[in-house]
């Protein structure tokens, strides 16, 4: 796993918050899909944002949606 700090995960959080005017925070356990912070058409951008912030190349053929559902899961898997 590459060395990262919480500021890297903040890039992901900021990307999510920039997509909505209704929120200024996201709970680490909040389901991003259910909350509609990410949908099918923004999922690609979301994955690219996580790749850039984490420095981890994500295998396109091994994507498990559960690894992307919450900020906590993303941090655990990619940071």
């Amino acid at each position: 796993m590459p060395n990262t700090t919480s500021s890297n995960l903040d890039q992901v959080r900021n990307w999510l918050l920039a997509r909505t005017t209704e929120r200024d925070s996201i709970d680490p356990d909040e389901d991003l899909i259910t909350a509609r912070l990410v949908d099918s058409l923004s999922f690609v951008e979301f994955v690219l944002t996580i790749e850039e912030a984490s420095g981890v190349e994500i295998d396109r053929e091994a994507i498990d949606l559960d690894d992307f559902r919450t900020l906590k899961a993303i941090e655990r898997k990619f940071f």
């Binding site: 099918s40 999922f43 053929e61 994507i63 949606l65």
Partner: protein
């Protein structure tokens, strides 16, 4: 009901018959159709430069000729890879509908369509593996979508049509581009010939499905669907800008490059060029009210950098 609309529409049925006939008459064996040299020259354009994502941007101005050729090679592999992934999805969706209620009359054409698409997928994959040693896998869209059961088939065929029209802009340009190797031109030419039939069919079917949808969906729902289609157009276009391509071409900071390119004024212009025909069609049929693709709801990569 869509089957009623189709069975009453003589013009649609005549077009279908003509397209079915053309598919039989023009049938070819793709496995014997192409000459596949062992390698293609590297120091040459692999894709018309005007179709590459960096064309006319500051990013291109920072690259030398050799880097531009190299980039065009990986961009072309990405383009054919997009075809492989896109065709997989459309074969699945059309196969789901063949010989089911509502699609009795177009099912004959669906047989040609599925068969031809399978062959296209083969020669695009062959090209990628021979000359790029890889197929770029796209991130599959995941997550929740709005569920509009009344619009499901309409949206499937709109997505297929947009994909085919986008690809065809590239194929028709590259088929005629003398700067490209003969094998590259041939792959694009053959695909363009088959796709002309698929696009003609797609436009007719989408028009009919939209007539059907208008009887079932409220004006508010139609506006939501319009917004979705515009987002889908942006999503498709942005798939041309693949950071893995920039990385493979040896360009530093591939994510930042992608953002720069998408934010550049050229990208909006390029998008309108690439999608000129389908946007004209969508506006003419009333499926969209205008050609303005700037997001009004959620931002895209270009509105959120």
């Amino acid at each position: 009901m869509i089957s009623e609309l189709i069975s009453k529409d003589e013009r649609f049925q005549e077009i279908l018959e003509r397209l079915n006939r053309k598919s039989v008459e023009d049938y070819y064996n793709p496995y014997r159709m192409f000459e596949w040299p062992d390698s293609l020259p590297e120091n040459r354009w692999w894709m018309s430069p005007e179709l590459t994502t960096t064309y006319g941007t500051e990013v291109a101005a920072e690259l030398d000729q050799e880097q531009l050729y190299r980039l065009s090679r990986y961009e072309s592999i990405n383009f054919y890879s997009l075809n492989v992934d896109g065709i997989r999805d459309l074969i699945i969706e059309v196969t789901r509908r063949i010989h089911t209620r509502g699609f009795e009359i177009p099912s004959e054409f669906f047989h040609h369509f599925i068969g031809e698409e399978n062959e296209h997928m083969w020669f695009f994959a062959e090209f990628c593996q021979r000359y790029g040693e890889k197929i770029y896998r796209q991130v599959e869209s995941s997550g929740q979508d709005e569920t509009w059961p009344e619009a499901a088939s309409f949206l499937v065929f709109v997505r297929i049509l947009l994909f085919e029209e986008l690809v065809d802009h590239f194929n028709s340009t590259m088929a005629l581009d003398e700067r490209l190797h003969d094998t590259i031109r041939a792959v694009n030419r053959i695909h363009h010939q088959d796709e002309s039939r698929h696009i003609a069919f797609g436009r007719e079917l989408v028009s009919l499905l939209f007539e059907d949808l208008k009887t079932k969906a409220s004006p508010e729902r139609l506006d939501e669907i319009r917004e979705y289609i515009k987002r889908y157009v942006n999503y498709s276009f942005e798939s041309l800008f693949n950071p893995q391509v920039y990385r493979d071409a040896g360009i530093p900071e591939p994510f930042a490059v992608r953002r720069r390119l998408l934010a550049s004024p050229r990208s909006a212009e390029f998008q309108q060029q690439v999608l000129r025909k389908p946007l004209n069609f969508l506006v003419k049929t009333g499926i969209l009210h205008d050609r303005n693709l700037a997001p009004t709801g959620l931002p895209t990569a270009r509105g959120n950098s």
